[in-house]
Symmetry: C2
Subunit: 157 residues, 2 copies
């Protein structure tokens, strides 16, 4: 898979605002509507565009607490990883799961309404699987956040 400047520009527009009509995208990238539409279609089929979603305001909905949970595994085995993943999948507040290099094995991004809800999550997690260690880092403020990928750096380089 390879992307030319036009592809990257199309993707960059859509990852910032997916409501822009194809006609205007075509205009901005210097293409007519049909070929522009076909490129977008291709990107959807090949999975480069994974989804089109609405982003909600966590504060407005009352989900104002973000916590990063650093976890150490009891055993470094495929089986333990599978079980761990299975457990966190059943826990509603878990948004992201990363496997890490270094001291900690995993990091979870957890979103809850308040500290009480986080405590329930904490008890749920520790009840369902044994962990070597668990270290919670609380976010006081989300200063910036974006789902868009840095395509600009690719176009320049």
């Amino acid at each position: 898979m390879t992307f030319d400047r036009i592809d990257l520009k199309i993707l960059d527009i859509l990852q910032h605002d997916a409501t822009v009509p194809v006609a205007r995208i075509a205009d901005q990238v210097g293409l007519s509507q049909t070929p522009c539409w076909k490129r977008i279609q291709k990107h959807e089929e090949t999975g480069v565009i994974r989804a089109r979603v609405a982003l909600l305001d966590p504060q407005a909905i009352g989900l104002s607490l973000t916590v990063f949970v650093m976890v150490e595994a009891v055993a470094h085995t495929t089986q333990w990883r599978a079980e761990f993943l299975c457990v966190v999948d059943t826990l509603g507040p878990v948004r992201d799961v990363y496997r890490l290099a270094g001291g900690h094995d995993f990091m979870l991004r957890v979103v809850v309404p308040d500290m009480a809800a986080f405590d329930r999550f904490y008890k749920d997690l520790t009840a369902r699987i044994r962990l070597r260690s668990m270290n919670s880092v609380f976010a006081l403020e989300t200063m910036r956040t974006t789902t868009a990928l840095p395509l600009g750096d690719l176009m320049a380089g």
Copy 2:
């Protein structure tokens, strides 16, 4: 601002797939098209729906390295925070900026193509602002990730 079950259901559908037509959403929440459309419209105006975006596959585009950068501030002042935020805003690979409780002051989520690009980012950051400490945690694997908020927990509780 208060949301009933219907509002939450509408938002939950849209945050997973924003391409679902209003007619089908109305169907699923047990409303006719007009009031359903008006609710969505209201949520867009009040900012509950912040944006509709396309989510791209980082691997497919060659942005396969995610790094979490933990930063300690040199000074705990409003001015230093503003300067720090200003600097990271100019650095392309920075996706998220969180202010943290505890030992580290900030965490950045950084997305780059490879280690060489991360090294460039590292040099850029440290050249533009003085930090007390900087600790990079590399993600070996993104096991799960979602932009959707856990609304199910709210509907149950």
